[in-house]
Symmetry: C2
Subunit: 571 residues, 2 copies
């Protein structure tokens, strides 16, 4: 396997062999290691010294379900700390077909032009692409597929990334050839924009299969894997039917669905934006199976969906829980068509729906926009590409929006807006949001399936620690954290696969060890960037302002949270 180094000063790319230490460290682990080894932690995130990293993992191309996650990482322009954001789609697998484990984009162009990286089988080139400047992601993908073939795998930024906005996302190709696989959080699209990189194209190449050392053991282990996925309700029934949207009612019932700018944990119109409502609407308009689509080849969970309008025409694909909550309940918007349309617009201009939703919630709370006013929100999202000042400001994230409007009460951690998990209702999330080096991020360790009473402060540090380490472990292998819902309790299942592929003999501690290593590496980067324990906290209002209807606060003692990194060592 190789690392493709892209030098944006010289506009050239060259491949180098993957160092041995990186072989088992894929995706998030690889991002963490390259960042710590190569990037000065105090550099400005938009500077030439920062690096944009795209990485896949050690099991991609083996046929292991969900093993084709794409990670995008770097020093976050939003948080100033390390950030990795991952998605499904086809790009990770396509890079692997060129034997590329990671693309590391370095430097920045002397001009202010935008370029496209084209990865050919024998070489990679950086091409000027003035014709793509200013285009939305859907148009960029359409044009590049026209130029490089319909099966080209892409990643791109929209106008938001070009403008280096702090909500800018990186969107990559899904199995339908659309930019539906969104690495949304941490403004890594702004980093890609600062690198002058509008798009990455990897045209089709014959399938690559990673050599498997122990074929029989692999087949056996893979069968066991599939069996567990198939017998776990979450991965065999709930996700395939409702997708992540199943969480709407689940969280609402727990009193933890962010509603009206995190003022409430229950949305009285939650049923209108529930996974059940979504399932019925999509099935009715789009036909059976339109909620059960894989985002990458070989995934048996298939939580992806296609959202059609009344005439059956595709609006957006997919629509997911975080968007439904943050552009829905959090803004008092209870209409799925509106949310789907907003989701499309956000994808096209290339912004994170979570961060934008938190920022919009702040201005609604101030009375500057009316709660529930979807058409005003639509105008505002459309204003981003037109560089309208209020739109640009909102697209600069919740902390900047809060600063400009003098708002004290901002739901954020380390500068990143909270996703749709209320730490006053699911208290372990308060620990995760406080401690993860990523800033408030639900992908780093959701606790609501941990065996703990979510409404009590006791045991939450341990619950978060377990969830974070396990998530980081699967992230290091490039696996979707939804698969961990099924196979997580039996780490041996995954370790058997790794051993079969690489001819190794790791025991079941591997997942924990990989996870710990990821987190310690990320933490080391952040310490060098100036973060410390003082930054491992959520805003005071989560501790003092009671959340209806439970009227609870996040009361996990800060002193316990302060022990998090010592506890990690003991794991």
């Amino acid at each position: 396997m190789k690392i493709l180094r892209v030098n944006m000063d010289k506009l050239e790319a060259r491949a180098e062999e993957l160092a041995d230490e990186y072989i088992l460290a894929g995706n998030r682990a690889l991002v963490a290691k390259i960042m710590l080894n190569e990037v000065p932690a105090t550099c400005h995130p938009l500077s030439a010294s920062n690096k944009l990293i795209l990485a896949n993992g050690p099991l991609v191309g083996t046929g292991v379900p969900t093993s084709g996650r794409l990670s995008v990482g770097g020093k976050s322009p939003l948080t100033g700390g390390i950030k990795e954001s991952n998605s499904g789609g086809i790009l990770a697998g396509r890079l692997a077909s060129h034997e590329i484990r990671a693309v590391v984009v370095e430097g920045k162009p002397m001009d202010h032009e935008f370029y496209t990286l084209v990865v050919h089988p024998d070489r990679a080139e950086v091409e000027a692409s003035p014709e793509l400047r200013g285009l939305g992601n859907y148009e960029v993908h359409a044009r590049l597929r026209q130029k490089f073939g319909p099966e080209a795998a892409l990643a791109s930024i929209g106008p938001a990334g070009e403008a280096r906005l702090l909500t800018a996302a990186v969107l990559s190709s899904d199995m339908q050839g659309l930019p539906g696989a969104v690495c949304a959080r941490g403004a890594l699209g702004a980093l890609m924009g600062a690198k002058g990189l509008k798009a990455i194209v990897v045209p089709r190449k014959g399938r690559y299969r990673i050599p498997i050392r122990r074929r029989d053991r692999f087949r056996q282990a893979l069968r066991a894997y599939h069996e567990v996925i198939a017998r776990t309700p979450q991965t065999s029934e709930i996700y395939p039917k409702y997708g992540t949207a199943a969480a709407v009612l689940a969280l609402d019932k727990m009193g933890g669905l962010p509603t009206l700018n995190f003022r409430r944990g229950h949305f009285d119109q939650a049923e209108r934006i529930s996974g059940q409502a979504l399932y019925e609407l999509i099935t009715q308009r789009g036909g059976e199976g339109a909620t059960t689509i894989g985002c990458m080849p070989g995934c048996t969970i298939r939580c992806y969906n296609k959202y059609p309008d009344r005439d059956g025409k595709l609006v957006v694909s997919p629509i997911q829980y975080e968007t439904m909550a943050m552009l829905g309940s959090n803004l008092g918007i209870a209409d799925l068509d509106t949310i789907a349309r907003l989701n499309y617009l956000c994808n096209d201009v290339g912004v994170d729906t979570v961060e934008l939703g938190v920022a919009l919630g702040l201005l609604m709370d101030e009375g500057l926009i009316e709660f529930g006013d979807g058409s005003r929100v639509e105008q505002l999202v459309q204003g981003i590409a037109r560089k309208e000042m209020l739109s640009v400001l909102l697209a600069s994230g919740c902390v900047v929006t809060g600063k400009v409007f003098g708002i004290e009460r901002i739901p954020e951690a380390k500068g990143q807006g909270l996703p749709a998990h209320e730490p006053r209702a699911v208290k372990g999330m308060g620990v995760t949001f406080s401690t993860t080096p990523m800033g408030a991020d639900h992908t780093t360790g959701v606790t609501f399936r941990e065996p703990v009473n979510h409404q009590k402060p006791e045991g939450q540090v341990q619950a978060s620690l377990n969830a974070q380490v396990r998530t980081a472990g699967y992230d290091a292998l490039g696996l979707c954290f939804f698969v961990a819902t099924a196979v997580g309790p039996e780490p041996k299942l995954t370790v058997d696969l790794v051993n079969a592929v690489y001819g190794t003999d790791y025991d079941e501690r591997l997942i924990t060890d990989l996870g710990k290593d990821v987190m310690k590496t990320e933490r080391a980067f952040n310490l060098a960037a100036g973060f410390n324990k003082v930054h491992d906290r959520i805003p005071d209002f989560f501790r003092t302002e009671k959340l209806p209807p439970l009227n609870s606060v996040c009361d996990v003692p800060q002193e316990e949270i302060d022990q998090f990194w010592e506890e990690l060592e003991r794991l």
Copy 2:
């Protein structure tokens, strides 16, 4: 002496005796101690937990020249660290006439109304003042002087402070009864706005004279003091004639005048905005002496001025170096009338000319505003009160502006824009801006009169350390740091005065000890707020981008700067 505690939850005020430990710790020292003792360092700066402190010093009312500085302090909404900003004017002395050493404003009102604190001889009251809402500082001062008498001493915020903008200043009365004494930096006006406090009024009361224990010694010491001020050219000739504006040509000749967004250190039209040009223009229009005005009673330096228009009508008073550079050379504006008009507008809406100048420079550099376009800048400043989005954004300071526009190259330290001292030309300023707990701030330790070669990296840490400790020492006594230009080399002169007033027997280490204590206290607050050595640095471009015409960089080794706080202990 007393501390007046103002409770904005209950809208009431009560006086308490000044604790013994605070007696010699005035102004900046008192701010630091109260903040460390009373305010949770991790609180949001706009929250009820933060405190707004106004303080005077232990020599106010004695007749010691410049002993009537007013400090305003708190946790800065701009930097997130501790901040003290001081000015002259008459409020500090007036508070002393009520035997008040400090006003500590706590909590915040439940409503979103604005109030005025009125300090009567026998009581202090918090009055609702809806009629002042939205008014500029000049109108506020005029109305309150009408209501409370022409000699009332005031502090107020303009619309910027009400909106809690991150450039918002606190403006207090000068000797002409105008809001010319500006505590500008660190957005303490936003903190005052968050407290719901539009103004503070202290009507006239008979003069208070602090009891002097050793009268003869005092008279003797005071005579010596005056003599040194009178024989020092800076305090007896240069400041009285040119004011701080003398620095324009001095810095320009050193290649350290921020020009065109810190792209150059020499402004080819510097002579048009020089202290000499200012002196001639003011004298010609306003008559002899219009450049030689005291900002507070008893000051013999009198660096204040009145800037008249062509018809002799007052435009603004005073106009000072930092404004002339940051709204002048830094923006390519070479017309004093334009700068004076901008200064008036900034004072009226209540924003810091330095922070605004840095933010404007960024957008000029991006080509969004033309360098030198004073009328566009005027429109933008006028747009702040009208809440026009781009104006509001600029008035949110340089870091926020930079984030929204995706700008990497921002001249700031700890979130605060650089004042008009180029650290590539006067390299000690790189150390001061890196290390001071205040963020980039010229009032914490200007090195350009230190005995060191400013263009070499050697000795700058020591130069900055000496300047910072000395400045902090005089700040603790409530003295103007300009007087230190004269008396600084002989600390005994000031210590004799302290000993005479308080009947104490400090030796000449007192200034150093007070200064060290101030800095260590501020540093302790900042450490608790999450700052550490990693934040003690200036942006990389000052180290890598050569500044014409000297083509120099700030090359003081970071490892030396990292030793600053250990070096302080050795002093």
